[in-house]
Symmetry: C2
Subunit: 430 residues, 2 copies
């Protein structure tokens, strides 16, 4: 009988901390997506969920309801496991650009639906589109065809995918109900599971440049995502990785493609970015069943890179999605900023703190990122980070090089970056 | 600066349990009333208030903002204190009909804006309108004139009074945010303070026929109302009175007028209803400064009744508001139902429980009350309650007499009343 609860009765129950049945949640989300439940009832419900929480079972039901509000791709005709990765977002996080060709080259299909950058965090679609001609606005049919033929497709969210999430996210944004574990979980997982995947590697970012600033919060989100994915019959691996500094040397769309290509081509196999890319790729390959151990999967990753198979796959992806595959081997074919400025250390010492979110926001001011989804970005501009956290510097050493085109915003960008880097006298504890 | 908080930032703060400034609350309510804040943001805010509460100071600011969303009547040209009573509602609660003439006859002005019955609770306006010709849909100008000339006016809420409350109440009703102390307090007090009163007697009902079922809940509401009224410079007395059985013998509009007139005429001065009416009148007269002690105020009440001054005032009120003053002395001039049925005790024993809300809902089925504000009621129908809680009865004794006109609903009304009265073997503890 519970599926026939009126919206107000359902809101009252959640408000009072009761657990809602699968049918109740399903019916409510369905009615909301159909426009039968008004926003003002949904926002009261969202606030009640924010403050009273949801069990794993409720979160699973919510995810399922949001998932089935739209199209769910069926890749069962493609043999083997289909595996994707989801990152909760950060600054300089371009691992998807490495994973896609590497994992596909290793024989695991990668159906990847990505987002755009917003605020301080970048987005895979913007990075891909800095490759001349590369199109991400493909239909689900195109996407299916790409995954079937070359084993990988990189597209943006389409209106068919989880429309309930689109509507709910817009409402959460204006009603103070964004930072809720069950709501975040359902939002992420409903979209990811619509891709028709069998397994998912989660990269939950933790630190001052991430959505989750503290380890316990990141752990809670990782647990919630993993529990929900597993409750829906998917294999899920969750890593919690550091976002207390930008990931790698590049921040900005074309620059990040260059850094990713350095890994794909095997020129850059050490350092935080390359190592995380290899690690995530290995977890995907392991989940995909190509190897039995993580160690063997890691070997497989390095093999696809060293053999040139990853680079070939990358060229294949670019060509299949309308881009110029010559970019893969020639970084100069990517958009390049006309000018460079440098932010230097004001004193001798050690890099004791990098305010990572502030670096991302400086990128927004520069034009590399956007404040709202309407903003137009400049793919060529960005930052080359010259120092890692803990590095010893001398006064005048470069901390960041700014690749830019327009002089007007440079003073503010420089000032923001200067404030973002702290040089202290003592080397931070290791 | 806090008044410039965006709605979403304000929602987030209340969600996180922070205390909002007067300016912030004022600006938010003003923007909502002006249609600048959408319902979906207000409902998220209301749910956050429901679950996180408000301090007395915040509740005062909310009340003030809602009060000043509309007209506030200024009675400062009328000498002496203006005093009203507010009841949180119940079954058979017709004390306002006694207080108005008695207190006005004692020389205290009574500006009284009342409501209609809804659900199991009756409403003063419906009772008054059962008097042939009596009009309650008067303008604020008419209201002012009545209070100035005869010392009392009995009207319904007008669109000028607290429009923010009207809008908020409708939203709370459909978003599961009704039962919140600060929201209830602001709703009640904003409307009452718009009457231009100096003092208020609160009759907070407690029991199975009241909004507050338990004493701690009723006490909390009484405290909240009193604290808010006093924070706004008003003299407030709060009584908590029993609603575990209908108040008095009459339930139904014309029947309740008859019972009230029995007290006004001095024919009924004992029993729960008459005693509460005298008590509330005395508190209003004391707050109005006519006497120095409650005992003297009580004497004054009895004097206005015994002298016929209360009855004269009642006739004056009826005439001034378009009704037939002959009704005051002749109950037969009020609408009368054509038929009577009796609900009897099924066994010997004691009345151990009366499910008061169920009695009220039986009245709705009968046509004496309404489920929605659109329903049309029959002023002549109702119940004559023959037994009080604890009374000893023999099998076949009348429990309730039903005054009715239409046969169709009688079986359901009878069945509901039979279920509402429990006859047990042991006399309930006193």
């Amino acid at each position: 009988m519970s599926h026939s609860l009126s919206p107000v009765e359902l809101i009252r129950r959640k408000r009072d901390g009761e657990i809602l049945s699968d049918d109740t949640i399903q019916g409510f989300i369905q009615a909301y997506t159909a426009g039968e439940v008004p926003d003002y009832q949904m926002s009261a419900f969202l606030m009640a969920v924010f403050l009273k929480g949801m069990t794993v079972e409720e979160t699973r039901a919510l995810t399922l309801a949001m998932l089935h509000s739209g199209a769910v791709i069926d890749f069962s005709d493609i043999p083997g496991f289909k595996v994707d990765k989801h990152s909760t977002g950060g600054v300089g996080d371009k691992t998807s650009l490495v994973l896609a060709p590497v994992v596909a080259a290793a024989g695991v299909a990668v159906p990847m639906i990505s987002g755009r950058g917003l605020g301080h965090t970048g987005g895979t679609l913007d990075k891909l589109e800095s490759i001349p001609g590369f199109r991400t606005d493909l239909t689900l049919d195109d996407f299916r065809r790409l995954v079937s033929t070359i084993g990988v497709g990189l597209i943006g969210q389409t209106p068919e995918i989880a429309p309930a999430d689109k509507k709910l996210y817009a409402l959460r944004d204006v009603t103070g109900t964004v930072e809720s574990l069950p709501l975040i979980t359902a939002s992420i997982m409903s979209k990811k599971l619509a891709e028709g995947i069998d397994a998912l590697v989660l990269d939950v970012k933790c630190g001052n440049g991430a959505f989750m600033k503290t380890f316990p919060n990141a752990q809670a989100l990782a647990d919630s995502l993993k529990a929900t994915g597993e409750a829906m019959g998917k294999r899920v691996t969750a890593l919690i990785t550091d976002m207390n500094q930008p990931l790698g040397w590049a921040v900005g769309n074309a620059l990040e493609v260059i850094e990713a290509q350095q890994v794909i081509r095997g020129e850059l196999l050490t350092g935080r970015f390359a190592e995380l890319s290899i690690d995530l790729s290995a977890h995907m390959i392991l989940l995909g069943g190509v190897t039995d151990t993580l160690e063997a999967a890691r070997e497989k990753v390095l093999e696809t890179i060293r053999s040139g198979a990853a680079l070939e796959k990358w060229k294949e992806i670019i060509a299949a999605q309308g881009g110029d595959p010559a970019c893969a081997e020639n970084d100069a074919k990517l958009p390049t900023a006309t000018k460079e400025a440098v932010v230097v250390a004001a004193s001798d010492g050690f890099v004791t703190h990098i305010e990572t979110e502030a670096v991302g926001m400086a990128g927004v001011v520069l034009g590399a990122g956007r404040l709202t989804l309407d903003s137009v970005i400049d793919p060529s501009v960005g930052f080359k980070i010259e120092v890692e956290l803990g590095a010893e510097v001398k006064k005048g050493d470069a901390l960041v090089r700014i690749a830019f085109n327009r002089d007007q915003t440079l003073p503010e960008v420089k000032a923001r970056l200067e404030r973002a880097f702290t040089i202290g006298l003592e080397k931070p504890g290791e």
